[in-house]
Amino acid sequence: MTVEQQAAPAVIARQLQKSYGGRLAVDRIDFEVPTGICFGFLGPNGAGKTTTMKMIYGLATVGEGELRVLGMDVTRERRQIKARLGVVPQETNLDNDLTVRENLVMQASYFGTDARTARPRADELLEFTLLSDRADERIQSLSGGMKRRLLIARALVNDPELIVLDEPTTGLDPQARIAVWRALERLRSRGVTLLLTTHYMEEAARLCDRLLIMDHGRIVAEGDPAALVREHVGREVLELRLEPGCDAEALIASLDGRLDGYDLTEDALTLYADDAEGLLQALDNDRFPTDSALVRHATLEDVFLRLTGRSLRE
């Protein structure tokens, strides 16, 4: 493999667009997923993340624009792309009529691998996802976390170069979530490209080398997690709960020049600054009475809420 081929992005989207029945789900987006990293798509429900993933793994057609996966065109070379892809869907769609091991062996047969070759590989994957002792059980007997891990094992039967994971940990308890993260971290360290969507900022911050935030079908920010925080919210955050009658506008005006930005939702005021402690000291408590004040580090969650707003979706 030449250097150029190695450096070629796993996914390239150019002016990618998709609408369902007149509703624009993905609105002319451009992005590139470099090979060998974990790339995250963040965004509120309905932002267009799942639609983008589905176009990549062949469960939605490309509306307009260009989408290349592993160097191939998704419309013309769908079968070849899918042969080298692993998919962990949002919905658990395991085959309930088969055992845990049979789910993997059957999946391998969809990729053209015969059962004799597939069985040792299946056992290896069950070990990797800590499911060996469940190999002969039916799917119904598995917990939610085990089903998720089996979905990951299933996505690996063809030894894929790129794995697409749509909300891989939604609905899991913290222990199960950590087990999934560990599996994904081990895959990344082997050089597999991971492409995942999530609503969990902690997950994005822990797993992803690079992030892209989507809202209303468009890309609103892109970068590595730390840079996104620095760029969009600064270093620290001061959270204030204002007493009734406190003039928020005047408060903000009084701190002019020290703020990187702010968010005001009813009586909750979030102030972004490089020195939130200093901000709190400088605040005139007699003029602006508050119920509570909290100083903390800025997180990805602040970036997310700043860029996509605080109002409820759906």
């Binding site: 057609t61 899918k82 042969a83 085959d95 049979e102 059957m106 969809y110 053209g112």
Partner: protein, 275 residues
């Protein structure tokens, strides 16, 4: 589950190029194998009713009702007339259930097809694999009836040995109709129309129980438009002594209609699952 998933109507979608309609045998075989694997778990429990069902029909119709028709039908005893048709009807019922409720369940409740279609398997492979399985299952059921019928001494022609592959063809034709219905309907309730207005009338009016010679001509014309009529003519011909030309015509009808209808479920399923 409290509520059944309703997939909604998506229609046929856009036209497909030939490449998207021709199944890859290797990929279709993987789907066939999956269905066969699941069936192999369940068949032992289901086999006894499969034998008993034709047995009861033969008893009630052939040996019960049939004793009132002293002269038989078309020169053959009534039980000999009815018996081969029961092979065809068993294949029809099997095909109808497999391509309606079973496919619906796999597609909408288990969401298996979403997974399958994110592997190298394409829609046309999936549909063909499912249809081939449905026809296989129908042939198994048809053979069970054939064995029962033969055990009663109601098979008089050695050509009956060709009944199984011809039943496969007839079942394929009925399956493609059931599959098309499944991929087009927006909700599961509509199956009652399929069975009440399609399958049951076919069962009763396709010449299994009575011939058409004393009925107005249009009745047979209508029957001619249904796949079961042709399959019944084939199984009866093969069991009692075939007319080669007639068998050829019926076979061509079934093969032609199957090929003609195949693009419908492929297009509809693609419109539904790969929008």
């Amino acid at each position: 589950m409290a509520m059944l998933y309703e997939p909604g109507y998506r229609g046929l979608g856009g036209p497909l190029v030939v490449r998207e309609l021709v199944p890859s045998p290797r990929h279709a075989a993987a789907i066939w194998k999956r269905n066969a694997r699941v069936f192999s778990r369940l068949w032992r429990g289901a086999l006894l009713p499969t034998f008993l069902d034709p047995f009861f029909y033969l008893l009630a119709l052939g040996f019960g009702l049939g004793t009132y028709f002293a002269h038989g039908i078309e020169g053959i005893p009534y039980k000999d007339f009815v018996a081969p048709g029961l092979i065809a009807s068993a294949a029809m019922w099997s095909s109808a259930f497999e391509t309606t409720y079973n496919v619906y369940f796999r597609m909408n409740e288990l969401r298996l097809y979403d997974n399958v279609l994110s592997t190298p398997i394409e829609v046309q492979d999936l549909v063909f694999g499912d249809l081939a399985w449905s026809a296989t299952r129908a042939t198994i059921y048809g053979c069970v009836v054939l064995i029962v019928v033969a055990a009663f001494g109601l098979v008089s022609s050695p050509w009956a040995i060709l009944i199984p592959p011809l039943v496969t063809l007839g079942a394929l034709c009925i399956s493609v109709i059931g599959y098309a219905f499944t991929t087009l309907i927006p909700k599961i309730d509509l199956y009652s129309y399929f069975f009440t207005l399609g399958i049951t009338p076919m069962f009763l009016f396709s010449g299994i129980f009575f011939p058409f010679d004393k009925l107005p001509g249009w009745v047979e014309v209508v029957a001619w438009l249904t796949p079961l009529y042709h399959l019944v003519e084939i199984t009866r011909g093969m069991a009692t002594g075939p007319d080669a030309l007639q068998i050829l015509i019926h076979t061509a009808w079934l093969a032609g209609v199957t090929a003609l209808l195949f693009p419908i479920p492929v297009r509809a399923l693609r419109a539904k699952l790969v929008p």
